[in-house]
């Protein structure tokens, strides 16, 4: 859920683009962290662990813990809490460790 009105801060800007979460379009703001757009859309499970298939989501929010990594535009292990949104981005739930493409 987005916090548009706030008792101290000015009104927040509204989404200006679309990203695709597991193929589904969700509204996003250019430049905001991918994780923020997902949370705003109510998505909290970002990946599954490699061995026990346990769900993980955002934890530290500053790019240190790597719990929020997903596959972004085909690249796995991207920290969504520090990766800015660009319109049209494809974000996928990462299952396990991910596979790196050659080259």
């Amino acid at each position: 859920m987005r916090v548009i009105h706030h008792p101290i801060l000015p009104d927040a800007p509204v989404p200006d683009c679309t990203i695709y979460y597991d193929g589904k379009p969700i509204p996003a703001k250019s430049g905001e962290p991918v994780a923020a757009a997902l949370l705003a859309a109510g998505v909290r499970v970002f990946r599954e662990t490699a061995k026990k298939r346990r769900p993980r989501g955002i934890y530290c929010g500053i790019g240190r813990c790597t719990d929020c990594v997903m596959i972004v535009d085909g690249q796995p292990n991207v920290r969504t809490c520090v990766t800015p949104v660009r319109g049209g981005m494809k974000v996928q739930t990462q299952k396990g460790l991910g596979e790196w493409k050659e080259g």
Binding site: V3, E32, P55, I58, G61
Partner: protein, 371 residues
């Protein structure tokens, strides 16, 4: 050294309150200053601090952290400080004429030679281990604060805050301001850790503060669906019959900060162990210089405190680095004394006194190391 390697008189790692203030002082004295920061914007954690700071007029009290951040950025810009962003520093190499700082940017390795190096890397939030603690919906309080105040997104609707230090109290209040419900703030100790003024605000808003309580598990299949808490006895053991379940979807963990000291270890600085400051701390003297000549440390890396003290420590390091470069004007000594007076004023009262004693101990370690 590679020919044509980038050079600066002062390289600062970290563009938070300490790093920015260090840059302002060093650049103000005439040094060529470069700040390197791994984030995509400078300011560190200042921009999520939407509350008014304490202290006196000189400490910018009454001003919100985000406003202070904007002012510091304007000042560094007007002084011509170069800020390199999205650039994690991963290596430090002693070199003739200073320290080579290696960093990554746009997927490439880069390096800069700094005659003086100031480490202002800040601190990170501590984690807390409990069953269900890895479920989506459990997060650092700082993460929730970034989401609501910077990204303007609620990370959950029904929150349990764990920890009653100032971070826990302030973020709980800011979650309420952002429209979330904070079901309870729990604290294992038998008393509230942070300032009474913050605690009163959230109590007035209807959030109970349960001291002598801890979280025993977060319950849920794919994410947090509820949270079990329990009362504790004076030995921090669960009290029989006091467990209960709160219908929360989010747990925010605010159980202290630890200095981010990796680069100080890498530089070869001597450390000391001071639990009140967050654990292993690089030893520094009154000039914020570590046991490695020409390497300074400022802000939370030298012990988790507040942005107000981080800014003062940064100024001190910036002045001292400029002085060591032979750039400082005549008032250096007075400026440093004024800063120490302001820092000592910030380190008073029931909370500050402990930090004052811990910092005094740290300076004592520096004197011992110098002998």
């Amino acid at each position: 050294m590679e020919r044509g390697m980038k050079k600066a008189q002062v390289v600062i790692v970290g563009g938070g309150p300490a790093g920015l203030c260090a840059a302002i002082e060093a650049a103000g004295a005439g040094a060529r200053v470069v700040i390197i920061d791994e984030n995509n914007s400078p300011g560190g954690q200042l921009f999520k601090q939407i509350h008014k700071f304490f202290g006196s007029f000189e400490h910018k009290a009454g001003m919100r952290g985000c406003t202070i951040g904007a002012r510091l950025l304007e000042e560094t810009k007007s002084l011509g400080v170069e800020v390199i962003l999205n650039a994690p520093v991963y290596g430090l190499f002693k070199h003739e004429g200073g320290m080579v700082v290696s960093y990554a940017q746009d997927g490439r390795e880069k390096a800069i030679l700094g005659e003086k190096l100031i480490l202002a890397t800040g601190a990170g939030e501590n984690a807390l281990a409990f069953p269900g603690g890895t479920l989506p919906g459990v997060m650092g309080a700082g993460c929730a604060q970034t989401m609501i105040n910077v990204n303007r997104v609620l990370p959950g609707k029904r929150i349990v805050m764990v920890g009653s230090g100032n971070v826990g109290l302030i973020v709980a209040y800011q979650l309420l301001q952002a429209g979330a419900r904070v079901l309870a703030l729990i604290e294992a100790a038998p008393y509230i850790g942070g300032y009474g003024v913050h605690a009163s605000k959230i109590r007035r808003a209807g959030t109970p503060i349960l001291v002598g309580h801890t979280i025993t598990r977060a319950i849920g299949k794919a994410q947090v669906e509820s949270v079990e808490i329990t009362g504790l006895d004076e030995n921090f053991q669960a009290l029989a019959g006091t467990a209960r379940v709160l219908e929360a979807d989010t747990v925010c963990v605010a159980v202290g900060l630890s200095p981010l000291t990796e680069l100080a270890w890498m530089a070869g600085c001597d450390f000391t162990w001071i639990p009140q400051l967050g654990g292993h701390i690089p030893i520094h003297n009154e000039n914020m210089e570590t046991t490695i000549a020409g390497v300074y440390a400022a802000g939370d890396i030298t012990g988790s405190e507040e942005a107000s003290t981080a800014m003062e420590e940064g100024r001190l390091a910036g002045i001292a680095a400029a002085e060591a470069l032979g750039l400082a004007a005549g008032r250096t000594k007075e400026m440093k004394l004024e800063i120490w007076a302001r820092m000592n004023a910030l380190r008073t009262g029931p909370f500050g006194q402990r930090r004052f004693e811990a910092k005094t101990q740290l300076l004592g370690s520096a004197r011992k190391a110098a002998q």
